[in-house]
């Protein structure tokens, strides 16, 4: 079996002409536990009046995992059941989702326990103990993966979680059964309406964009053998499904508008954007203080503006599309143009056009970058513990940076454009 495994790993590849990691038609993006958990927490804040939101979290994972593994198994028809299980266990670890064993499962479902699950541990680290299970993604992933192994239709199985690391249990337990009701889940938007593009690195600055992207996309970032977690840059990273984020964010927004009214959606949009800001603070902040940064990027940096460029160069290796700085006025303004952003790619394919901007992560991310560099003055203060107190300092600064999306592909533009200025 080990011999089979050595040739049957599902990894995908980085596609430089799209700035995307794609594994069996599912784009993967790098994201940390702060973003994963905060975004989920915002959605769960509405569960009293949007009862479908919890199922949305599970179903979205089920759809993407099913689509990915079905594709893979269709093209690797010689794989036996045990081989397929190992492919899935291995991919789960590789992507930083944790450690699982599918040994106690079959075509009727089964029980899976994990002592190391990204969402369960990430939630506890970020928010403290939870009163309810939180690993909706893991639950849906496992359900979709089992359907793919056994050649079932997506939606024939359904899963729920009965214990959770975030609740202080010694393991997270997932129970998967034949679905009691007939369910048809939506197909994954897969690669979405992506764009091919050529990055235009700025010529008049010392940051070597292309070298940085090349180095970072070759870094061996994958879950550790024992824990299945990617502990890097002081966060727990994942190679997450771009389509999962889009399904849950935009699916949630749609539900929210239907229930609460479109005139009330500003609060939801603010919080989805804030999730991006939280992400930037923690992940960008962690990266800009890491040994990787010190070796690869920092030697060429002289000014705070170089730091902004250095981070934007690095973002181009996250699978988030092509990020280019259009305008940078020191401590005043940043404008970033994005081609093939993963949010627009998925939105356009799955939801069509939008009458409001939808690149929430990108807007929060670009804003967060300016706040790290100028409001917090990270280049002068590193090494610094980026904790909740420091995050509050940023928000208590009267002139912190705020962002807005000026152009949006989902609204018909050819690229996304994010503008960040002081409030």
């Amino acid at each position: 079996m080990n011999q089979t495994m050595s040739t049957q790993l599902l990894r995908g590849a980085y596609l430089p002409q799209r700035h995307a990691y794609v594994a069996e038609q599912e784009p993967a993006v790098l994201h940390c536990h702060h973003y994963n958990c905060y975004l989920q927490a915002v959605l769960l804040d509405t569960r009293d009046y949007l009862p479908r939101v919890e199922q949305l979290l599970i179903d979205s994972a089920q759809e993407v995992a099913y689509a990915q593994f079905k594709n893979y198994f269709d093209t690797h028809a010689h794989l036996g059941e045990l081989d397929k299980m190992q492919v899935i266990e291995d991919y789960f670890r590789f992507a930083g989702f944790g450690k699982i064993s599918l040994a106690n499962t079959n075509e009727l479902g089964g029980t899976i326990e994990s002592t190391s699950d990204h969402y369960g541990l990430g939630w506890k680290y970020k928010f403290g103990p939870s009163k309810q299970p939180v690993s909706y993604f893991t639950c849906g992933f496992l359900t979709g993966a089992l359907e793919a192994i056994h050649g079932l239709k997506c939606g024939m199985l359904s899963g729920h979680q009965t214990s959770c690391l975030a609740m202080g249990d010694p393991f997270s337990r997932f129970v998967i059964n034949i679905s009691p009701t007939h369910r048809t889940l939506a197909p994954s938007p897969q690669e979405g309406a992506y764009q091919t593009y050529q990055l235009h690195p700025p010529q008049d600055i010392p940051v070597d964009y292309l070298g940085i992207i090349e180095a970072l996309t070759h870094m061996p970032l994958e879950g550790q053998e024992q824990s299945g977690l990617i502990e890097a840059f002081d966060v727990m990273l994942t190679r997450h499904y771009a389509n999962y984020y889009c399904n849950i964010s935009y699916g949630f927004l749609e539900e929210f508008r239907n229930e609460v009214g479109a005139e009330n959606h500003t609060i939801a949009i603010e919080l989805l954007t804030e999730a991006g800001h939280v992400c930037a603070f923690n992940t960008f902040g962690g990266i800009m203080q890491s040994s990787e940064w010190n070796a690869l990027i920092r030697p060429s940096l002289k000014t705070p503006e170089d730091w902004v460029h250095g981070m934007v160069a690095a973002v181009n290796a996250f699978g988030w599309g092509f990020w280019e700085i259009v305008e940078l006025l020191p401590n005043e303004k940043l404008v970033v143009k994005i081609h093939s952003g993963y949010e627009a790619n998925a939105y356009l394919k799955k939801f069509g056009s939008s009458n409001v901007p939808i690149s929430f992560l990108a807007t929060g991310g670009v804003t967060g970058l300016m706040n790290l560099i100028y409001t917090l003055n990270l280049p002068e203060r590193t090494p610094l513990s980026l904790d909740e107190e420091v995050y509050k300092q940023i928000h208590l600064t009267p002139q912190m940076f705020v962002g807005r999306q000026v152009h949006c592909r989902a609204m018909g533009d050819t690229y996304d454009l994010i503008e960040v200025v002081k409030r």
Partner: protein, 73 residues
């Protein structure tokens, strides 16, 4: 206690955007008292019952016990 006072207090002392998250959870209650996200204003006065609910939400969300009334003094 006015909405603005609570908003500033939560966002400063608990967590940035804490008020927005609280408000998101408060919706069913807000509807009961005839309010909506877009109709609630900074100068609206929140009654004891609403403050009690906010306390519960903060405890659940951030594992923090607050006494808003004392905190405002």
């Amino acid at each position: 206690m006015k909405v603005k006072e609570i908003q500033d207090y939560l966002n400063e002392k608990v967590s940035p955007y804490a008020w927005q998250r609280v408000k998101l959870r408060l919706l069913p209650h807000l509807k009961k008292i005839g309010k909506y996200f877009h109709t609630i204003s900074d100068h609206d006065e929140l009654k004891e019952e609403t403050l009690d609910i906010i306390h519960c939400i903060i405890e659940d969300m951030y594992n923090q016990k607050l006494n808003l009334k004392e905190a405002m003094l």
